[in-house]
């Protein structure tokens, strides 16, 4: 079974479409969405509609902190992010808002666990950006494979024989065997707002039969996505980030 993991879409429909097309062409049979469907971008309604339709057809989706902020205001967000969330709340229909509110924080499925941030405390939105944070999350997930977003970069954490965890920076497009003899945590990257200096959208494919994961970067029309953010009157930094991939 090939499963596509898409996270941190952030209302970027151009990036989402490009990733879904690539995943479809590469044999993805299932879709797992790891949260933060909205915020920053200009197309929340289209993105959430697409995700909701796929969830109705059997896809899995978990909630991110931006999705939560639509229903209850978040004190920790900065001014421009709050502005974007307020705009998004108005742009979404009641039906889409109800869909986001209904999402679970964490889903376990066989040997896999799906969570936006850390499985150790999913509602605290901690960043999993060190091997020891990865270990904490995986201990709580109680799974062989944990897939997460929130941190916008792609990374693969894995357990050593002595129980010590390491980080591995994957090469886009190059399959990495991840055998079930040890535990793994994959940060699948951000579809709609990559921050590593490259504007290309990020998503990840997992082939469960071959125990192999491939981190992808997909070129898309990011200039259009950035232009729409400006046209919508959303804060300029969010347009600039999409344009530059920072």
């Amino acid at each position: 079974m090939r499963i596509a993991f898409l996270s941190d879409i952030h209302s970027n429909i151009e990036a989402l479409d490009a990733c879904l097309k690539h995943a479809g062409e590469n044999g993805a049979e299932r879709f797992v969405f790891l949260g933060d469907f909205v915020g920053y971008g200009a197309d929340p309604e289209a993105v959430v509609a697409d995700v909701a339709r796929r969830v109705a057809e059997g896809a899995v989706a978990v909630k991110g902190n931006h999705d939560e902020a639509i229903e209850k205001r978040a004190g920790y967000m900065n001014v421009s992010t709050k502005q974007s969330i307020d705009w998004t709340r108005d742009a979404l229909s009641a039906e889409r808002r109800a869909f986001l509110a209904s999402l679970p924080l964490l889903v376990r499925e066989g040997e896999m666990c799906f969570v936006h941030a850390s499985a150790a405390a999913p509602a605290r939105w901690d960043y999993v950006d060190t091997p020891s944070e990865a270990q904490r999350s995986v201990d709580a997930a109680r799974s062989i494979y944990t897939f997460s977003g929130h941190v916008h970069d792609q990374m693969l954490y894995f357990e050593g024989a002595q129980g010590k965890w390491s980080a591995f920076q994957p090469t886009p497009g190059s399959p990495v065997p991840i055998r079930s003899g040890r535990r793994w945590l994959a940060l699948v990257g951000s579809v709609g707002q990559p921050r590593d200096g490259r504007p290309a959208a990020a998503y990840t494919l997992f082939d469960s039969a071959r125990e192999q994961v491939t981190f992808h970067r997909i070129a898309y029309d990011h200039l259009s996505a950035a232009r729409k953010i400006r046209q919508a009157g959303l804060p300029e930094p969010h347009a600039y980030r999409v344009e530059k991939g920072i």
């Binding site: 894995f158 050593g160 390491s166 591995f168 190059s174």
Partner: protein, 479 residues
Amino acid sequence: MKIERPETVIDGYRVGERIHSGAQSRIFRVSGPSPGFPIAMKVPRIGPMEPSENLISFETEALILPALSGPHVPRFVAAGDLARTPYLITEWIEGENLESMLKRAALPPAEVARIGAAIADAVHSLHQQGAIHLDLKPDNIIVKPNGEVVLIDFGLAHHARYPDLLAEEKRFAAGSAPYVSPEQVLGTRSDPRSDIFALGVVLYEMATGQLPFGIPRTMAGLRDRLWLDPVPPRVRAPEVSRWLQEIILRCLEPSAEDRYQSAAHLAFDLRGPEQVPLTERGFKLRQAGLIGQIARWWRARGVQLRVNAKPASKSLDAAPVIMVAVDTMHPDDPRQHVLQRATARVLSLSPDFRLVCVSVIRAGPGAPGAGAGESASGAHLDHLVHLRHWVEPLRLSARKLSLHVIESPRPEGALVEFARRNHVDLILIGAPSPTQHALAWWRSVASGVTAKAQCSVYVVRIPEPGAAGIPSDDLPDQD
């Protein structure tokens, strides 16, 4: 399932006689679905009484070997399920293990160079694929009857595109004590130049029959190589030539920055001893004195902080072999300056390049460039002088440069073959100008090399004055 019981059949493979029994694994002959070449089965020693390292290094080999290809690694055939019956089926390499060849050491310098160059070819092929062996030693080097080398045992290897399962296993991930590089002793597992160091130890052993750092049994003993100046090979075996000592000691530099930056460069020097520039290393007849050793020890105290590993791909990008084909039969041709400038530009992009200047001349009387009564070797020397004159304005150190005049009736074939044999990454060659009928000979050479070379080719052309900006339909036909 107990694999060692003879005649056991696993996944269709019938287990035969045991060929090898080591501390970490055993190797059996097998028969089964034939891939068209001889195969063997490697089975790790695992179980409650065995060290956990065995399983991790087996997992590492099962991860990396399938990703490697080419004549210098055994072909991967199949792997058993790690949790149930771990085994690896690979090609069985017929040849002599270098360990057994070393029983005849010290070997004559020419043989050391020949085998050493073949090992360096294999190491370079590995590095080009993004992998580092990290456990090079005579036991893991098989010399085939045709002289080619195959590297085996990738249980401690590193691959840039795969997670390093041994990253946190510092206790044993450092290779074999006599051969391991200083940076590996300190825990670095991502520097391809570690293989150059290990290869230096192997060369030293072949040339002298002895190990430069002995067989350390303690961590303190291992750390000695961070500063210890090995006894010069010529002291231990007087037949070792200066150039060979120069090469060996350069491989054994404690700081990776001071070693060969690419196994291709090392192979090149081992194949062309006459152009190895000798430094103090080649002439040394004693270890550094007390003061010198103290100075080396003092410098090494900082090494831990300065370990500066470069991933294989980046390191090779910085250390290309660049070949320029120079037409020494027409030294005054205006295109020579354009080719020189292009060469300078390309060299400025790579800090650790190696430049190889090649001229192909047609041997024998009547060939262009060979005047009446001029002997072939006289012509040869003449062209070497032109070549040296050509490259002189680039002001390159002898360490980065070599000059070759090849006599051949088929210039493009000779250039392409020379480039292939010497791991050349880029060939620079002048394009013929449309009006130069005298150089029609070169025209076919440039296009022949472009078509047949296995590496990139940069065809350098003199821009036509005023041609830019004109629609190409309006330009005269250039062919």
